[in-house]
């Protein structure tokens, strides 16, 4: 990696940590330990299912909220506060700045997810008293959640490169919700005819397919995830986020700073 991108990424990570972003882990830990104790007392035979479902959904939602609310401010906050002036007057290219910011935020989310994943496995151990072979699929679900974060971060960054933070948050969250229903949208497109069908197909394939990245229910039931899906989702998430980042760079490259 270009060293300047690394420095910018590290500074973004450090800013997130010092702005107490990782404090969300406390809320997560409280939620999960409370749930584990409750589930342990009231459920019979489905403790694992409930803990995995609840734990991974919480990991995903906490991460998406962080990705959106930090992502939308990554560039616009630097423009508003004019901290960017003393960065871009150095030998830093604008694309390096955007990419560095992206890596900084995804790095923060990876660390956050890792710590939450530890919490999920501890809760699992608490309710099931041991790990099972099928628990390895929980790791795959966590990996897919991280892939979701990559796309959400990239989209937040893309929208914030030309829009206000509020509108960027609205756009990104709307795309997350629509993207979570992408498979249904594709199904709808298949049964729709004419111009409506074309539009539905275009929208269905244009929005990020978050539903393919959501295998929480599957792994909660102990079902395996195919290697093909892992490969497909990895390539898809990388390409989608790369395109969103490229869009953000293209816009930011020509933007006059106020």
């Amino acid at each position: 990696m270009n060293s300047r991108i690394g420095y910018i990424a590290f500074n973004t990570f450090r800013e997130a940590v010092r702005d107490r972003v990782l404090y969300n882990l406390i809320a997560f830990a409280l939620l999960l330990s409370g749930a584990a104790i409750l589930v342990g007392e009231i459920s019979i035979d489905v403790e694992r299912l409930v803990v995995v479902n609840l734990g991974l959904t919480a990991v995903s939602l906490f991460g998406v909220v962080i990705a959106i609310f930090i992502g939308i401010g990554l560039v616009s906050k630097e423009i508003d506060k004019r901290t960017l002036y003393t960065v871009l007057s150095r030998p830093v290219r604008r694309w390096e700045f955007v990419v560095g910011k992206f890596f900084g935020l995804t790095g923060t989310l990876v660390v956050n997810t890792f710590l939450m994943a530890v919490g999920v496995f501890l809760a699992l151990l608490y309710v099931a008293h041991r790990f099972e072979k099928m628990d390895e699929w929980v790791l795959v679900a966590l990996y897919f959640i991280v892939l979701q974060f990559l796309i959400v971060c990239a989209l937040a960054l893309f929208f914030s490169s030309f829009s206000t933070p509020l509108m960027s948050a609205v756009f990104t969250f709307a795309l997350f919700v629509i993207g979570s229903l992408a498979e249904d949208l594709r199904g709808f497109a298949r049964i729709t005819q004419g111009v409506g069908g074309w539009i539905a197909t275009a929208v269905a394939y244009l929005v990020p397919n978050f539903s393919a990245l959501n295998v929480i229910n599957q792994v909660a039931h102990g079902d395996a995830v195919s290697g093909r899906l892992i490969l497909y989702n990895s390539v898809y998430a990388l390409l989608y986020s790369a395109m969103a980042i490229a869009g953000a760079v293209l816009i930011f490259q020509h933007r006059n700073l106020k």
């Binding site: 420095y7 450090r14 007057s89 030998p91």
Partner: protein, 320 residues
């Protein structure tokens, strides 16, 4: 070699909500600053000083024209490692300490890891912040932030330093220190381009000044030459008698004022002998007689005054 060559740099913005129309922020600007020169860019608020600096730093893009710094295009990243920039009222990452901030900027500017920490310490000492290096910037006062801003601008030992209102927010002691710093930069052979609206600073520091108003460069001149020009008047200072200005002097058309036990009188050069005769006749003791020289302030005001052709346009504001 010219350190900075500004070649018809022009900037206009689109304004208005429904019917967007261009508003000229900077009329075509042509200016050359030589290496080792301290150049003051003077003008009232909103004159176009900051726009010019932002264009040179690549923070905004020109509508037309270009600029070269140290012989290379201003967008060339290699040039940027040779320049330092202090923005007006700088903001920094307030989650960092002063040391961390300077270290980060050092990394971005390509200051080698070996010796970077020592360089950071040295810069903090140079701006009088040795004891505050470990404090987070959110706890810094405005004046301290300005000092950090100066430190980051010269951290990587740049050849050309751009300072936007460097004295802003500083107390008299701080302003003195910044003036000393600019003098030091000059003695190190650096080129300094700084914007200000404080004329006494410019007069004390600059080799040349440029006056900008309403986005237009109204004049450029060497400070020494501008202030060396006499205005056909003399100033006579003498001890007064009975706290009065002699009537003979007033009849010569002198503008005189009493200050303590002294009189300060300004009158046309050709009446010098007659004035001295009045003093001799009244037995008054002369303290000094000096030709009245132009001040930078007079040059500045003269350049800001609208010319006939421009008056109408000035009334409407800059715009096309």
């Amino acid at each position: 070699m010219a350190a900075i060559e500004i070649l018809d740099l022009e900037k206009s913005y689109l304004v208005g909500f429904w019917r967007k129309r261009p508003k000229l922020a900077l009329r075509p600007l042509r200016l050359t600053i030589e290496e080792g020169e301290v150049f003051g860019f003077l003008g009232p608020n909103g004159a176009g000083k900051t726009t010019t600096l932002k264009l040179l730093m690549g923070l905004v893009f020109p509508t037309a024209g270009s600029a070269r710094i140290l012989g290379s295009d201003m967008d060339d990243p290699r040039v940027k490692s040779q320049i330092g920039f202090l923005p007006e009222q700088p903001y920094f990452y307030d989650h960092l300490t002063a040391k961390e901030l300077l270290n980060y900027y050092g990394q971005l500017s390509g200051v080698p890891a070996k010796g970077r920490s020592a360089r950071v310490e040295q810069m903090l000492a140079r701006v009088g912040l040795s004891n505050s290096g470990g404090m987070q910037l959110r706890k810094f006062s405005k004046g301290m932030l300005q000092r950090v801003g100066l430190a980051q601008a010269i951290l990587h030992d740049p050849k050309v330093v751009f300072l936007d209102e460097p004295m802003s927010g500083l107390d008299p002691m701080g302003r003195r220190e910044v003036r000393d710093l600019i003098q030091q930069l000059r003695s190190e052979g650096k080129t300094v381009f700084f914007s200000t609206h404080i004329l006494s600073d410019a007069e004390a520091l600059c080799d040349r000044v440029g006056i900008i108003h309403q986005g237009e460069l109204r004049g450029v001149g060497a400070v020494a030459e501008l202030t060396a020009q006499t205005r056909g008047k003399i100033e006579i200072i003498f001890y007064a008698q009975a706290q009065k200005v002699p009537a003979g002097l007033t009849s010569l058309g002198a503008e005189a004022r009493l200050s303590g036990d002294m009189v300060n009188a300004v009158l046309p050069e050709e009446r010098q002998d007659a004035a001295l005769e009045v003093l001799r006749r009244d037995g008054l003791k002369l303290i000094s007689l000096t030709p009245v020289r132009n001040s930078l302030e007079e040059y500045y005001i003269q350049k800001l005054r609208p010319t006939e052709g421009r008056k109408e346009e000035d009334r409407k504001g800059v715009g096309v």
